[in-house]
């Protein structure tokens, strides 16, 4: 292997330079402020977790985990998402005190990448987890809060797709009889392979009516009318419950007055086994990947010894920033250039300006070779040089 150049970074790692940093922070603050207004409390968890606990409980595929060993030989992972760590904290510490819990986070997560660029291996997520409430009101709150916090960032054109994995599972089980056969069909949806789905259905030994129902299933995408179409397709009560939940969710979103950005998509399967009920993804114009996703994961808490419902969402900062598009070019820094004999004056002036909220740098003029090039970077310049009074250059 050739030696690395000094500027190289591991695959998928990115630097954040000043202007991007500023833009990103502003967006984060806006979302955080909104999330706090809904009464969610922010927490932090460690970057490293045990593979055996959080690593295996997370929704992220094993080959995407960054693994390392600690000195005792335990396998550790760089947290691949925030939901599993928060479930761990909630189950071990917080759930004893109060229910339901509304928690939020803003953290980097890590996922090993094998392919080409365009897929960071470390990226920031802002998200919430609403733990200990099995009602659809909790799902509705998650969706409404996601929409609200995205609006706060100034994002104009975005769209949510909502599905229900419980419906998919019962509907398939009802027609196909066994879990294995239902899973085989679900996998086509997970892979977004409708062609494969149809070919698979055609090959099954089923009545033509049941085949027809499975084909019709792919059309369960759209607005409110999808709910009735879904009712028409199912037969037993369990599948009906899932649709009742979606119907209720739609009514809740109507009360939030947020159905305008929402579409139902019952073919949406974001993960093979993680979610247990309502799940959703959010898309924005100009970005090819979902900018966020969420859903109900009632089984995760069980892995940490507590049986209770939970739902939550995460927004990917990198995709959100791409959707927002503009990087703010901020030059609003005031520069005071001083010479030795007027140093104290410069510091006093800087203190005064900083107190009124202005960003100020004080720069010894002897430390700068090219004064013109240096002053160009700043919005305003004060020259405190020699014996004369203060001159504002720009």
């Amino acid at each position: 292997m050739s030696s690395l150049f000094m500027f190289e970074k591991p695959l998928g790692m990115r630097d954040t330079l000043p202007e991007t940093y500023e833009t990103k922070n502003k967006v984060k603050r806006k979302m955080e402020t909104d999330i706090k207004k809904w009464g969610y409390q922010f927490i932090e968890t460690p970057t490293l977790e045990y593979y055996e606990t959080v690593g295996t409980a997370s929704a992220i595929l094993d080959q995407q985990l960054f693994k390392l060993l600690d000195q005792q030989g335990h396998t550790l992972v760089l947290r691949p998402d925030m939901t599993a760590p928060i479930a761990r904290v909630a189950a071990s510490k917080l759930l004893t005190e109060q229910l339901p819990l509304r928690l939020a986070y803003n953290a980097s997560v890590f996922r090993a990448q094998q392919r080409e660029g365009g897929r960071p291996a470390e990226f920031e997520q802002i998200g919430v987890e609403y733990i200990g409430d099995k009602t659809i009101s909790a799902d509705g709150e998650g969706i409404a809060l996601m929409i609200s916090s995205l609006k706060e960032t100034g994002l104009k054109s975005f769209q949510l797709s909502i599905g229900h994995i419980g419906f998919v599972q019962t509907f398939f089980l009802q027609i196909l009889g066994t879990k294995d056969r239902a899973d085989a069909l679900t996998k086509y949806l997970y892979e977004k392979n409708y062609v494969g789905y149809r070919q698979h259905v055609d090959k099954l030994s089923l009545s033509s009516i049941d085949k027809q129902r499975l084909h019709q299933f792919l059309k369960l995408r759209g607005g409110k009318e999808v709910i009735q179409l879904a009712y028409d397709l199912i037969e037993n009560n369990k599948g009906k419950n899932a649709i009742d939940e979606l119907k209720q969710l739609w009514e809740i979103l109507e009360d939030y007055e947020e159905t305008g950005r929402v579409k139902l998509d019952l073919t949406l399967v974001s993960h093979m086994s993680y979610y247990t009920g309502i799940l959703y993804e959010v898309y924005a114009e100009g970005v090819g990947f979902p900018i966020g996703s969420g859903g109900r994961y009632d089984l995760l808490l069980e892995k940490f010894g507590k049986s209770t419902g939970a739902t939550g969402f995460a927004i990917r900062m990198d995709h959100l920033l791409e959707a927002l598009g503009e990087i703010e070019k901020t030059k609003d820094i005031h520069c005071i250039l001083f010479s030795g004999d007027r140093r104290k004056e410069a510091f006093e002036l800087a203190k005064e300006k900083r107190a009124s909220g202005i960003k100020v740098i004080t720069q010894d003029i002897n430390g700068v070779d090219n004064v013109d090039a240096c002053t160009k970077q700043y919005s305003e310049i004060s020259l405190l040089v020699g014996k004369a009074g203060m001159e504002v250059v720009k």
Partner: protein, 214 residues
Amino acid sequence: MSDILTIAMPKGRIFEEASDLLREAGFDLPPEFDDSRKLIIDVPEESFRFILAKPMDVPTYVEHGVADLGIAGKDVMLEEERDVYELLDLNISACYLAVAGLPDTKLNEIAPRVATKYPNVAAAYFREQGSQVEIIKLNGSIELAPIIGLSDRIVDIVSTGKTLVENGLIEYERIVDITSRLIVNPASYRMKDERISDLVERLNHVVKGNAITK
């Protein structure tokens, strides 16, 4: 701007059949479309922008969202495993992936080598058969490999079988049937839902064979 649909088309073999299909579906494509050397062709009358890509790259453009839709062979889809929707089997450019080699030969026991343009598909296939092979990736003229002794077997696309015969090779196993698919970026599928559904609907009408049943 958001109303424009960007479609990634594969250059070469599939291109002609795909544009015929689009015309049949009632889309008005200009005559110079077919022999243009441009990489980007705008068709403002239909609010389409076509990008002409290497067939293997079509799913990449679509996955990253720089093309809303694309037309890609199932061979490419299997090899690339991109996160895109495979909405419609266009039933064009039918062919299949096969294992071929010189007649009366076996895989070398010491170094069982397979040359192919599809390393992932080939590796998965031989793994499923329980045989351990070494994959050698080539970018074209795969038939050369067994003739000059690079490998005992090749995995490649067969449409008529003529190329194999002409090079003295025979087909050993048929892996999977291939046709071209209409693929869609997951975000475009939501953000441009109406236009895409309309396109799918119209194409579905003219697709032969396994069209989506009503």
